[in-house]
Symmetry: C2
Subunit: 408 residues, 2 copies
Amino acid sequence: MSITFSQPFAEPKGSPIRELFPYLSLPGMISFAGGYPSPSLFDSEGLRDAAAEALTAGGVAFQYGSTEGDVSLREQLSALMAHRGLDCPSGRILVTTGSQQAFDIVVRVLMNRGDVAYVETPAYPATIQALALAGTRIVQVPVDSDGLNVATLEEMLRAACPKDRPKILYTVPTFSNPCGTRLSLDRRERLVQLALEFEFVIVEDDPYSELAFTDERLLPIYAVASRCVTPEQNPVVYLSSLSKTVAPALRIGWMVASPAVLRRSAIAKQTMDLCTSPVSQAIAASYLASGRYPATVASACAEYGRRMSTMATALQSHLGNRVQFDKPTGGMFLWGRMGDGIDPTRVFKEAVDLGVVYVPGHAFYASNPDANTFRFSYAAPDCKQIETGVARFAEALEKAGSALANSD
Amino acid sequence: MSITFSQPFAEPKGSPIRELFPYLSLPGMISFAGGYPSPSLFDSEGLRDAAAEALTAGGVAFQYGSTEGDVSLREQLSALMAHRGLDCPSGRILVTTGSQQAFDIVVRVLMNRGDVAYVETPAYPATIQALALAGTRIVQVPVDSDGLNVATLEEMLRAACPKDRPKILYTVPTFSNPCGTRLSLDRRERLVQLALEFEFVIVEDDPYSELAFTDERLLPIYAVASRCVTPEQNPVVYLSSLSKTVAPALRIGWMVASPAVLRRSAIAKQTMDLCTSPVSQAIAASYLASGRYPATVASACAEYGRRMSTMATALQSHLGNRVQFDKPTGGMFLWGRMGDGIDPTRVFKEAVDLGVVYVPGHAFYASNPDANTFRFSYAAPDCKQIETGVARFAEALEKAGSALANSD
């Protein structure tokens, strides 16, 4: 019996981040690797109360739900969106099984094999993998300290022949993964104009925007676009999630999009999982209705801000100008670049031996990686672990450096 | 802004069953339509206790989980499988977001556009839709009172030129949807031989086998195959779910397959939803460990058996030999065929006006539907509603018959 797999699954590569998992459980290991929020910041008590309330409804709480999502959860999410400056009725929200599913739906509904996806680069690896497995052509768009480089994007668009123009552009505009940068308002406006001119869909992935360390708030790109077009004409598909602010284990994400996109997305979702767990949805709705969400987010912001500062200070004190990075103003990630030609991938084994794990930068590129880069997440470890972890990383660099010198 | 959707989603059709949803909420409506289990049979108390227990673990209960699934749930499922006569270690089980996701994964991992899927027909509509949206060529294999007609299948396989041979064959061998039939052991054995000879994967969808009205148990096809081949060579991908026996709202399904299929399925699932809700998984594991599962299933079997008998008796007493059907020995569905040329699709509007809704048979065919057929589910309505609903259906047939006579 020999099985012929589908073309993308003949010899598929796993997630480069998930491949680091075996290291995470080693005793004493400090992890800067995963995009995991800190479990100590989850409001476990509030979630337990929400679960108890959600499951008192009797048998009906355990039945199938609608593909589009639970009405009361969609109303809560609509209110949450309004708070972010994005006005949409609950009927324009599709609940998904995490925002990962929302992106998978977008790919199915929009992309044929061979279609072009522009992706800000470096980018979230699961996005790259989903696009690669769907057989799309990934074109990397560079970023800088203000996020996606929209001027370069414009040059690329104007230079591309029609068959190489993108159908979608993927970006995490607010506290990006992996760079932690934020796209400026000017760029958001220009990006919308380009999407309308070149007729591509902007996939705005927004799991982190509420994890802000300053009071400055920027409108979602979707909301920027809605100033000049109707909901039917909005070129943005907006994705978000409760995974970084409430709890990943609920697997609650959502999509806001034009009716044409939403209708097809619901049909796709029918064949994917029929509906997102109504138990999870009821817990999430109950939790959001409890009024505990703002305080939970506020304490996460305060703690992540502290951890980020600790990490930035430790990196500067241990590595000085051997490392370059922008200090994030929100989110969970710090993106670093070694200035003296040391490749963090080659240091990786040393670092693991010393008890710290992180993601070498190549994981965030579909092609042509910048080998001198790395991503550190400061969300899961506490400040003390962060200081120790950075010290171990510096030691690993030193060891690798002297090994290199010895082998010369 | 004009969006070009992917080819399958240019003008997609929704689920023919979900399109009946608006009728279901009409006052006084009796529904034989959905494949919904009866919420009155859910063990709400046991599930609430399981949820309370599962969520006491603190923050870690709300974190991301592994793509393959929670270890304790997989151990519980392995024990459940052993009870069904299918021995597999927990490591050979992939937890999925309902068995719908498991099937979606199978399609992704195995099927290229244009590949051939053999599907027992009539068949579950969401299967047909998932295969159609993936651009596969669906070939219908007939069934009879003993399930999939394996002799006809063999003729089809021998007659097919290599490019038209199937990569997968889809079947619900035990209490099929929509027919309620059970594939005999002889046929299971022959089917395995054919899969090995013609090198196709048997997708064995098994959500209903525990809902049996008699003591007779048949081995899953996977277990039949494992008598003669190693797990690596087993041509069966086995799918199941807790949706029909515990609660659909948990969205817990699973897959048992060869290591080569499982490894790729986990990679596919990473891009689909990262992991199935760890909250749902913990509730399910806790519930299965509580020991309440066997009694819950036993009372569902007893009640569904009563409802099925009530429906069969009512159909016979109201319609006599105008309707043909096999009395199911388990599951949730009765498949009927009108003997006198009356098309249940054309009667549908009359029936809705009289307060009963069901699924006309055409929904269960990818092509060439038998227009005289219909599916009644006896799972959700109680016995009194079943009697009233069948009477209304008979009345609708009568009205349509006289309208037809008048218009002649």
